[in-house]
């Protein structure tokens, strides 16, 4: 019974993992760019949330998500406009990879200098610890809410991409960034919005993760690796695949921890590696 509970809680954790990955997947799908600094931006969002909570203690902590998400969108927009758009066009796949790696180093160490290396977390008081009994299993309330939020966000994203004009423009730009200019679209501008959206989604994941577990400026690496594993496991190009990948990874993570309490992310990483060996295309076959 305890194992089922672990797996269920793992699946709930998967919702959060899916959120971590979706921003990365979006940028890769549209711009063919892996934003190595994605993890650091998520941690930055968490720090902003902690600061805001400290400044406005009378407001419920979860409400800080609103300004944090807006700030993250703005930062993403500027990041793309000022830095990334200069290399997005280069035919050399190495340049964006190295550049975003450089940005991640700068951010990580800036955060160490500015915020210090000590451990932080976002306290929600009762809500962090609350659990309910569902079908005889003890389920955390926050994890459940997080999964629901993740599913809702995924649905929203899918609607936006498939059914709005903006989504159509994004998809067309992802398909053919040159030709889309013939129809009055500025690819650079599209990329700005997409990066903004990516960091905004990442910020939600980052803040919710900060509620669940503590973080330091060095936590970006963990988050990046999880996000990456989620995207690859789910199959490149599949949004719902990212959620599924997150769920599988979450289950592996909690099952691993149950067995071996100090393992950190080892079992999640191991699962990822094993799946990669057997099925390089991911769990969900990606569309060509």
């Amino acid at each position: 019974m305890a194992w089922i509970e672990t797996l269920v809680n793992g699946a709930l954790l998967g919702g959060l993992y899916g959120l971590l990955g979706i921003g990365l997947a979006l940028v890769f799908g549209v711009m063919r760019l892996v934003n190595i600094a994605h993890g650091e931006f998520m941690v930055l969002a968490a720090y902003l949330a902690v600061i805001l909570v400290g400044l406005f203690p009378q407001v419920h902590p979860l409400f800080v998500l609103i300004p944090v998400v807006i700030a993250a969108f703005a930062v993403g927009y500027l990041y793309q406009a000022l830095i990334m758009n200069r290399v997005a066009r280069a035919p050399d796949p190495l340049a964006p990879l190295l550049l975003t790696f450089g940005v991640s180093i700068v951010l990580r160490n800036l955060m160490v200098e500015v915020f210090g290396a000590d451990v932080r977390g976002l306290q929600l008081g009762e809500l962090s610890r609350a659990s309910i009994k569902l079908f005889g299993l003890s389920i955390g309330v926050m994890p459940l809410l997080t999964l629901i939020a993740a599913v809702l966000l995924f649905l929203l994203l899918q609607w936006a991409v498939k059914r709005t004009v903006f989504g159509r423009i994004v998809r067309a730009t992802a398909d053919r960034r040159d030709i889309v200019r013939l129809f009055g679209v500025k690819p650079d501008l599209v990329y700005n919005y997409v990066m903004g959206l990516s960091l905004a989604l990442g910020a939600i994941g980052g803040v919710l993760l900060a509620v669940r577990s503590s973080f330091t400026p060095f936590s970006g690496v963990e988050r990046l690796l999880i996000a990456f594993e989620v995207v690859v496991l789910g199959g490149i190009g599949s949004f719902w695949g990212a959620l599924l990948g997150g769920i599988v990874l979450g289950m592996a993570q909690l099952a691993g921890l149950k067995w071996d309490a100090n393992a950190g992310l080892l079992y999640a990483h191991l699962l990822f590696f094993v799946v990669l060996l057997i099925r390089p295309a991911g769990l969900v076959a990606s569309r060509a």
């Binding site: 004009v165 159509r168 423009i169 998809r171 067309a172 992802a174 398909d175 053919r176 040159d178 030709i179 889309v180 200019r181 013939l182 129809f183 009055g184 679209v185 500025k186 569309r287």
Partner: protein, 232 residues
Amino acid sequence: MTLLEVNHLNVFHGDLQAIFGLAFSVAEREAVALVGANGAGKTTFLRALVGLIDSKQGRVRFDGSDIQDTPAEHIARLGLGMVPEGRMLFDTLTVEENLLMGQVSRRSGAWTLRRVFDLFPALEERRNHLPRQLSGGQQQMVAIGRALMCNPRLLLCDEISLGLAPVMVEQIYGAFEDIRKEGTALVLVEQDVKRAASASDRIYCLLKGRVSLTANAGDVSVTELTQAYFGM
């Protein structure tokens, strides 16, 4: 009324010059054929006109404004459209979504989704299909329809007939009559000289980046054209 006027155009691919001192013009409502062998520079020329190639010198005047330094996104909004070589459809968008992309430049005119479907009924049946599910001819229809949805005043058509069965080519060229009736001027780039000449008022022949011949369609003989085409 001259709609498009090109003077002394030089276009470069990196350090290599592809177009040399080209002069070219299209009047309103006119249909002009641009023929030449593979590698003569036809596609390079069109892409330069429409703003997709930056390394160029010279003057391009469209509808009264100089556009040689204008970015492609803006040129589209001015009413210069292109059906690119190889169709270049948006592969993850449906037929209808591809067509609707033409509306993004927000130019109004006769060409609406309804009218494009009337022109190409086969597309209406397949409005929710993806490009890869269509035949070559149908894809070409989508490419043309997509460009039409921008309501261009001048439409550049790059090798429309390439790879299509003659029956299909007939059908598509038949559509050009409707397109011209709405007042759109055309530039038809083809390797098939006869086909292009029969649908146009004037012909330019391009050889190694230079104009080797320009004449009214009816005034030039096959021999002259062949010579200009191959440079003999």
